[in-house]
Symmetry: C2
Subunit: 122 residues, 2 copies
């Protein structure tokens, strides 16, 4: 699905760059709020509130992702410096399984991306 | 790389199911700790400490992922109930861009998986 999502986008989808959400202007011809995509002002406000939390979550995920990546590289360095192996597949499997159990099939992909980011340049 | 990682695993990789890390036993023939993969006990201890934090991070990422998924579905429902659109591509693009900027090319994949989890059944 990945490429399709982006391919559907056009210039008309460009987000407001000056953009506080409050600055979004309703499309007068349809009554639709262009930024939230909501059909009514009340829904637009509700959506803005939820999006604020979503943005916080995204930032937290990014921060955790980067911290994990640094730690995981450190683990790999420590292990190799001690004469150990570069990877421990048993551990990687556990992690993939944890994400798959919690998030479903996409969890496998998330875990593999996470593990890859922790390996550093091969 | 995804399939390769798993294909390399064998039954010998199975993680200890009773497994507190302290229960890992060194392989006496090689001096290698089977669980951490470290070649020396000191490194093994250091690795265990870092892995504890990594495990916390993984759980936090999972929790945030699920919370975001619920919120995002709620946003979609609210928008559609108000007569708005099912998706807002401008918003999706912003999110993909945020992850790509922070995490590099894999960030795009992470964002697309995250967005998909927030769409619910199509």
């Amino acid at each position: 699905m990945t490429a399709d999502v982006m391919a559907q986008s056009t210039d008309a989808d460009k987000s407001p760059t000056t953009g506080s959400p409050a600055a979004a202007t309703p499309d007068e011809s349809t009554g639709t709020d262009n930024y939230t995509g909501a059909g009514k002002p009340l829904a637009a406000n509700e959506i803005r509130g939820m999006r604020e939390r979503i943005d916080e979550i995204d930032q937290a995920i990014i921060d955790l992702w980067l911290e994990r990546s640094r730690l995981s590289r450190e683990v790999g360095k420590t292990r190799m410096a001690s004469g150990g192996t570069r990877l421990v597949l048993a551990r990687e499997r556990e992690i993939v399984e944890r994400f798959r159990t919690a998030l479903g099939p996409d969890g496998t992909q998330v875990a593999l991306l996470l593990l890859r980011s922790g390996r550093g340049p091969l």
